[in-house]
Amino acid sequence: METQAVVPVPAELAAVKEGEAGDLDRLGGRFRAAAAADGLLDIAYRVMDSPVGPLLLAGTERGLLRVAFDREGHDSVLESLAATISPRILLAPARLDAAARELGEYFALRRQAFDLPLDFRLATGFRREVLAHLPEIGYGHTASYAAVAALTSSPRAVRAVGTACARNPLPLVVPCHRVIRSDGSWGAYLGGADAKALLLDLEAGAA
């Protein structure tokens, strides 16, 4: 989960490092496959570059579990997943291939809706209900927090809608960036106000 630890090796033994990086790549690939086959890999993650900075993608057997912006602190997000879901977390890009591909297409203006299995277990109760309604706001459109609240079972819970968006475990894929203030200003965003502006501009330009 951390980067390769550097062990200083005495010069006369330095030859043991010959070919080691390649051997570890090979062993790592074999190991991830074996761990997944044994049901030992609960959460796979990868990091992808995007116009809104590096994105952490984490997924379970059920689907995409978490998308995190750089400013959320990828390490602390992984630590939190380890504490709340399972400590069996591995850098295993293959499981996130589909998610990374669809996000790449979204940023390249070739995709307007996501077609990915999602694991919503990080959002429960009303927060989950709010997230379920967000995809109803179409690509290139926006809705106010009050308008989203009106779609839910608690139409007056405007602040709670704000909280649900602020804690959305699957930003971008579940479009909380399309929820803005009633006065038309964009409001806060998990990925930062600049990221929200970039996404809304991107969708407005492509739609």
């Binding site: 951390e2 390769q4 080691e20 570890l24 790592g28 190991f31």
Partner: protein, 170 residues
């Protein structure tokens, strides 16, 4: 855990030989992953992984029915310790024959395999896996001073062997 792959690989290679090390490495990390959720109070992950690797190496030798290879200098072996490398075990004096010229890594592993087990373990755990002597002592069941001495003796013997090998090769 991913950051400790190299250290664990070196330990596996030193204890079971380069040929067999891949399997023992994988068994070590699978075992670690299996018990990981219940290992909340581990203070040093690397020492923890090295201890698992050492056990897996022992299991490996046991499964292969190999006995520990007597060491050349007659130092007493601790019963239950992992045996010398099997597949590519090399007796004293034949290091150069087992190694093709230019394969420096193989040269080092071969030289290491000729050391008494305690020295070999001390050298690998401290110098190649980066564990502190206190942790090495914990694995070897001796004192920190004894672990330090074993590593120093091991390095001294290794230097002599490697100088010899390089002269033979040139």
């Amino acid at each position: 855990m991913a950051g400790h792959g190299a250290a664990v690989l070196r330990v596996c290679r030193a204890l079971v030989g380069v040929q067999e090390a891949d399997d023992v490495w994988q068994e070590t990390f699978l075992a670690a992953l299996r018990v990981y959720p219940s290992s909340g109070n581990v203070r040093n992950w690397e020492a923890w992984l090295v201890a698992i690797a050492r056990n897996k190496a022992m299991d490996h030798h046991r499964a292969a029915g190999r006995l520990p290879i007597p060491v050349a200098d007659g130092a007493p072996e601790t019963s239950g310790s992992p045996a010398a490398p099997g597949g590519d075990a090399v007796a004293h004096g034949s290091v150069e024959r087992s190694v093709e010229a230019g394969q420096d890594a193989a040269l080092v592993w071969a030289a290491l395999s000729t050391l008494p087990l305690k020295q070999r373990e001390a050298v690998v755990y401290h110098h190649l896996a980066g564990l502190a002597y206190a942790e090495v002592a914990g694995l070897l069941g001796n004192s920190e001073a004894a672990a330090r001495r074993a590593a120093a003796d091991g390095m001294k013997a290794l230097r002599a062997l490697l100088v010899q090998d390089r002269e033979d090769c040139s």
